[in-house]
Symmetry: C2
Subunit: 354 residues, 2 copies
């Protein structure tokens, strides 16, 4: 057999099929894309020959001449190894994936190459982008509309230029803080999300959640929380615990902006001999599936991550079809009270939980 021997596979092109079937390239193309424009007999012959030869249209050639690649890109602001350590992304991809499959689209993950998202964007052959957590003034976004690729932002700031999918971060954060304050906590600490892409500024999400926490705390007349920034991984959560002041200085409750950090923090606290929630209350954010079966199960702010992915994909697909769409209302967040929170140590009455 005439198989190429590693590295030089001979691709069957449309011209080969045309020759073998004794027709023009046009006919072959029609056979696949406009069958009704061919006669019965020819159609069947061409299709037969194509199948025998194992013909498959070259995706890049197709993309070039059709001006669409059948792929949507996910713009990821951090290294894949970092970002996939957080189930948040998995869930988002579940949502995106659902719609992609519905519409016969592939999903391209686009992390920074060589530290540069801009470079990675150029390399990516996609019909549209979903961008995760990029501030609306990020350089990468300028590149995007210089090229004119439709884009939907997730977890960003509202901006006129493109649709943004957000959840009610502020409301969720407020509910979380209020929950702790109602239990009697006065000494809180916040574990914030790290800025992405080596920027100095907080992510839009962080800003909104901080805002929510602070507003609830002020309303209750408690003192401002100290803020520690930590990654969204278990290890980072553990480090955050270490960074907490010890002894009487230690806050009695923690507001974490991600479940992963909360889980890591709880583990570290437990290893240090603290009981959660008796000695330390912790509330997370996201409600990833795992938070239901940790020990103790995590009190957290639920955001509909899968739905967020679905919505973003749906909007993007609309935009790719040329329809103009505007940003939907932020999705609801809700406080899920489990067992990682209770009254601060030293309070008298035991507290009821649902």
């Amino acid at each position: 057999m005439p198989a190429a021997w590693l590295g030089a596979p001979i691709r069957v092109t449309i011209a080969d099929v045309a020759n073998a079937a004794g027709v023009s390239k046009t006919a072959v193309s029609f056979a696949f894309n406009n069958p009704e424009r061919l006669g019965q007999a020819t159609l069947e012959r061409v299709l037969g020959v194509a199948h025998d030869l194992g013909y498959t249209p070259h995706p890049a050639a197709r993309a070039l001449s059709m001006r669409r690649s059948g792929t949507i890109g996910v713009l990821i602001p951090q290294r894949l190894s970092t970002v996939f350590a957080n189930p948040f992304v998995s869930e988002l991809l579940q949502g995106l994936g659902e719609l992609c499959e519905e519409h016969d689209l592939n999903l391209l993950l686009v992390p920074p190459l060589d530290g540069s998202l801009e470079g990675a964007i150029r390399q990516a052959s996609v019909d549209g982008f979903v961008s995760l957590g990029l501030g609306p003034h990020d350089r990468a976004l300028e590149v995007l509309d210089a090229i004119g690729i439709p884009t939907v932002l997730v977890d960003s700031e509202d901006a006129a230029a493109r649709p943004v999918v957000n959840v009610d971060d502020r409301g969720g954060a407020e509910a979380a803080a209020r929950h702790l304050l109602e239990q009697g906590h006065r000494d809180l600490a916040v574990i914030a999300l790290p800025p992405t892409r080596g920027q100095v500024t907080n992510t839009p999400t962080t800003v909104r959640r901080l805002d929510g926490y602070r507003s609830a705390i002020e309303a209750a007349g408690a003192s401002a929380p100290q803020t520690i920034t930590a990654g969204t991984s278990v290890a980072a959560g553990a480090r955050a615990f270490e960074a907490l002041p010890r002894g009487r200085q230690r806050p009695t409750a923690i507001l974490a902006m991600s479940d992963m950090a909360a889980i890591g923090l709880i583990s570290a606290a437990q290893s240090a001999g603290l009981r959660v929630p008796d000695d330390l209350s912790v509330v997370g954010f996201d409600d990833i599936p795992a938070s239901a079966w940790t020990n103790p199960p995590l009190t957290t702010v639920r955001q509909p991550i899968v739905e967020k992915g679905r919505l973003a994909a749906r909007l993007l697909i609309q935009r790719m079809k040329g329809r103009a769409v505007d940003s939907p209302a932020p999705l609801k967040t809700t406080l899920v009270v489990r067992h990682s929170t209770s009254r601060p140590p030293g309070s008298d009455l035991p507290i009821r939980r649902r």
Copy 2:
């Protein structure tokens, strides 16, 4: 400004840059890819003009003429929403991602479109594929080498044609079963992985693990385990628990082929009033990060998932460079004993754990 009004963005092409700079297309191409072939002055002028115009080479055009897309594909045998519910995939992607970033490659997720992986493969513009859990005789693989795209198999059967990355499933399973048997269990049940892609046959991984379980059980002279097939999700694990016989018929220990199923099963068991491990021992497989902080922490077989991803990517990249590579030895699996296993109910002595 001459911006296109939605859906018809005007792309700046290499010809535009060439015109504006008063040079040929070739010169522009050289400016980016062979700068040394241009004079200082021209080089700077071209680069300047290109930058001002916001020129970006069209990825598909580039891919077509260079015969490489700078992308590797991950062949996923199930729907994305299913597959991303299992952290296993996230971890694998961490490994793959690491090497992709190192080599400036993007990652394309390729799930079955319209139920057909073959179709999805054709649509995908990639330089190589990593295939997850596909049997070596899958139709999809035939398509792959009909086109001549280098491929590395993960979790498949050894086959001469292409490199396969596996872990020691059999050994791990054997260790898991032996652990239970040593504790005195005689009544075991196995929760098997579901076959992928609507096939009837078990996945290669399932076959090897079953083999390991059975061999240990036979060696101990215990009776054959009953086998229940369940998805790799928490919900599926819960269903598996419901499918178990009740009362005295209930096995005293469960061998689950995935941590997710194990976790779901444990939750269901606990909701039904059973104590784990006192009433029921459960051992998982994979050692996903979550298994360390479940309640109780999960005894499981650890496989180096991230490493598996790295290795697969490394081999694929080798193959893409034209080097021939053969399958590496299976990666080691090790039993991690935590707290979801103990002696069967009715045993006298309490058991020590590490």
